[in-house]
C-alpha cells in the first residue's frame, strides 16, 4: 500500500507539474504571436505614415514649383510691366500706382517665402538649421514677435529625410503659435546631445488646458498636434506638450541622432522612403 501511495503522489506531482509547464509553453507561444502581430502592425503603420508624408512632400514640392514658376513669374512680369508705365501725373493716381507696385512687391516676396518654405529642396541646399533660421526671420520681419533662437552642443547633420520631417514639425509648431497663441515672444532651443537632439519651442501666449487638447487629439486624429506627434514617432522620437492657461505653451521634441561614423558623417537614413528629388 505504501508503494501505491508513493506512486500516486509521484504521478500527481508529475501530472500537475506537466500541466503548469504546458500552461507556461502556451503563454510563451501566445506572447510570441502577439509580438509578431504587434511588429507587423507597427511596421504597417510606419509604412503608411511614411507613404503619406512622402506624398505630402511631393505635393508640397509641386505646389512650391507652381508658385515659383507660374504665379511668381506672372507677378514679376506684371511688376515689370508696371515699371514700364510712366507714373501718372495726377496726385491721387500716383498714390494708387505706388500702392499697386508695393502690393505687387509684397506679393512677390510673400510667394517667394511660401515657395521656399514649402519646398523640401531648400533644406537640402541651405541646411536644416539655416532653414529654421529663415522661418524665424520671417516671423521677426512681422515685428509682432521677439524671437530667440539658440543652439547648444555639437551640431550634427542627420539624414535629409529626417531633417525635412523635423522641419515640418517645427513649422507646424510655429504655425500653431501664430494661429492660436497670441504670443509676443517665441523661444526655440536646439540641444544636440551625444545620441539625441532635444528641441524646445515655447511661447508666452495665452496657453490652454492640455486635457482639452488630449481629448481633441483622441477625437480627431487629424489635428496639427497629432500630425506633429506622428511625425516624431516616424523619427523614433518623442513629442510632449505642456501648457497652462495664461502661462504660454512649450513643445518638447526629442529625436535620436544617428550613430556617427569614424569620419564624423552620420549613418544612413533608415525607416522611410527617399523624398522626391
Amino acid at each position: 500500500m505504501n508503494e501505491l501511495i508513493l506512486i500516486g503522489t509521484l504521478l500527481s506531482v508529475t501530472l500537475s507539474g506537466l500541466l503548469m509547464f504546458l500552461l507556461w509553453r502556451f503563454k510563451q507561444k501566445q506572447l510570441a504571436q502577439d509580438e509578431t502581430l504587434n511588429r507587423i502592425r507597427v511596421d504597417f503603420e510606419q509604412n503608411l505614415l511614411n507613404t503619406r508624408i512622402t506624398l505630402q512632400e511631393e505635393n508640397f514640392q509641386k505646389l512650391a514649383r507652381e508658385i515659383h514658376d507660374n504665379i511668381g513669374m506672372s507677378l514679376t512680369v506684371a511688376r515689370l510691366n508696371l515699371r514700364l508705365l510712366d507714373e501718372p501725373a495726377k496726385a491721387d493716381q500716383q498714390s494708387h500706382y505706388r500702392t499697386a507696385a508695393e502690393q505687387l512687391d509684397k506679393a512677390i516676396l510673400d510667394l517667394k517665402d511660401l515657395s521656399r518654405s514649402m519646398n523640401p529642396d531648400i533644406i537640402k541646399h541651405l541646411g536644416f538649421l539655416r532653414s529654421v533660421e529663415l522661418e524665424l526671420n520671417a516671423l521677426r520681419k512681422t515685428g509682432l514677435y521677439t524671437v530667440d533662437f539658440t543652439v547648444s552642443g555639437e551640431q550634427r547633420p542627420f539624414a535629409i529625410e529626417k531633417e525635412v520631417i523635423l522641419f515640418r514639425v517645427i513649422q507646424e509648431a510655429l504655425h500653431n503659435i501664430l494661429k492660436h497663441a497670441e504670443a509676443t515672444a517665441i523661444q526655440l532651443n536646439f540641444d544636440f546631445r551625444n545620441d539625441e537632439l532635444n528641441i524646445l519651442i515655447s511661447d508666452n501666449g495665452i496657453g490652454f488646458h492640455t486635457d482639452t487638447i488630449d481629448r481633441k487629439r483622441k477625437e480627431q486624429r487629424s489635428s496639427g498636434l497629432f500630425n506633429m506627434e506622428e511625425r516624431c514617432q516616424l523619427l523614433q522620437g518623442s513629442f510632449a506638450i505642456t501648457s497652462e492657461a495664461g502661462k504660454g505653451t512649450s513643445v518638447y521634441i526629442s529625436i535620436p541622432l544617428p550613430q556617427q561614423k569614424n569620419d564624423g558623417t552620420p549613418g544612413p537614413a533608415v525607416g522611410f522612403a527617399r523624398l522626391p528629388q
Partner: protein, 222 residues
C-alpha cells in the same frame, strides 16, 4: 525511516527560512509579496509548534491536542490567505464569485469539523483533505483564466503563476497522499513516511514561492 524524515524535515525548515528571508527582503514590492510573506511566517511558526510543545514540557495529551489544533488553525489560515491572494490575482468577476463561495465553504467546513464533529484538538486529516480539494479551485481558475486571456503577458514575472504552480502541485499531490493514509493506514501506524513525502512537497511549494517572491509584477495591484 527516522533519518529520512529528519532529513526532509530539516530541509523543509531551511527552505521555509530561506523563503521567509526573501519575503522580508521583497515585502514592500506588492500585495502578493505581503500575503506570501505572511503565509511563510505562519508556516514557520507551524513548523516550530512541536519544538515549542517540547520545550514547554507539555504532556503527551496536551501535545497531541496542540499539534492538531495548530495544524487545523494553520490550514485554515493557509486556505484563507491563498484565496485572498487569488481573489486579487484573478480578474474575472465570475471567478471571484467562485472564490468567495470557496472561502465560505472553507470556513463552514472548518466550523463543522472542529465544533460539530469535535475534531479541533483531536484530528487534522479530515480538514486538511477538504482544504486540499478547496485549494485546487483557485489554481484551476487561474489556469483557465490564463488560457482564456486574449492578451498574453510573460508568466516568468507573474508571482501568481509561481504561487499557483506551487499550490497546485502541492495540493494535487497531497490528496492521494492523505487519502491513502486515511484509508489504508492503521490509526496507530507511524506517520513518518507520509510526513517525509509531505515535507518534500512543502520544499517544492517553498521553492516556487521563493521564485514568486523574486518576481516584479507589472500589474496595478501595487
Amino acid at each position: 525511516m527516522n533519518a529520512f524524515f529528519d532529513l526532509t524535515n530539516g530541509l523543509m525548515l531551511l527552505f521555509n527560512l530561506a523563503a521567509l528571508l526573501i519575503g522580508i527582503l521583497h515585502f514592500r514590492r506588492s500585495i502578493f509579496h505581503k500575503i506570501l510573506c505572511l503565509y511563510i511566517s505562519f508556516a514557520l511558526f507551524q513548523d516550530m509548534v512541536p519544538y515549542i510543545t517540547y520545550f514547554l514540557h507539555f504532556s503527551p495529551v496536551q501535545r497531541h491536542y496542540w499539534m492538531n489544533a495548530s495544524i487545523n488553525c494553520f490550514a485554515l489560515l493557509e486556505g484563507l490567505l491563498f484565496y485572498y491572494y487569488f481573489y486579487i490575482a484573478l480578474r474575472e468577476r465570475f471567478n471571484r464569485l467562485i472564490l468567495l463561495t470557496g472561502t465560505g465553504l472553507l470556513v463552514l467546513t472548518a466550523a463543522w469539523l472542529w465544533f460539530l464533529m469535535g475534531k479541533f484538538g483531536n484530528s487534522f486529516q479530515s480538514f486538511i483533505a477538504a482544504e486540499l480539494f478547496l485549494l485546487l479551485v483557485p489554481c484551476i481558475l487561474y489556469i483557465l483564466e490564463q488560457v482564456g486571456a486574449k492578451k498574453a503577458a510573460p508568466l516568468y514575472n507573474d508571482p501568481a503563476f509561481w504561487t499557483g504552480a506551487g499550490i497546485f502541485i502541492f495540493a494535487a499531490s497531497s490528496i492521494p497522499l492523505f487519502l491513502g493514509w486515511s484509508l489504508s493506514f492503521p490509526v496507530d501506524a507511524n506517520p513518518d513516511p507520509i510526513y517525509s513525502i509531505n515535507n518534500i512537497l512543502y520544499i517544492i511549494l517553498f521553492t516556487s514561492l521563493m521564485i514568486a517572491l523574486r518576481c516584479k509584477p507589472s500589474s496595478t495591484h501595487e
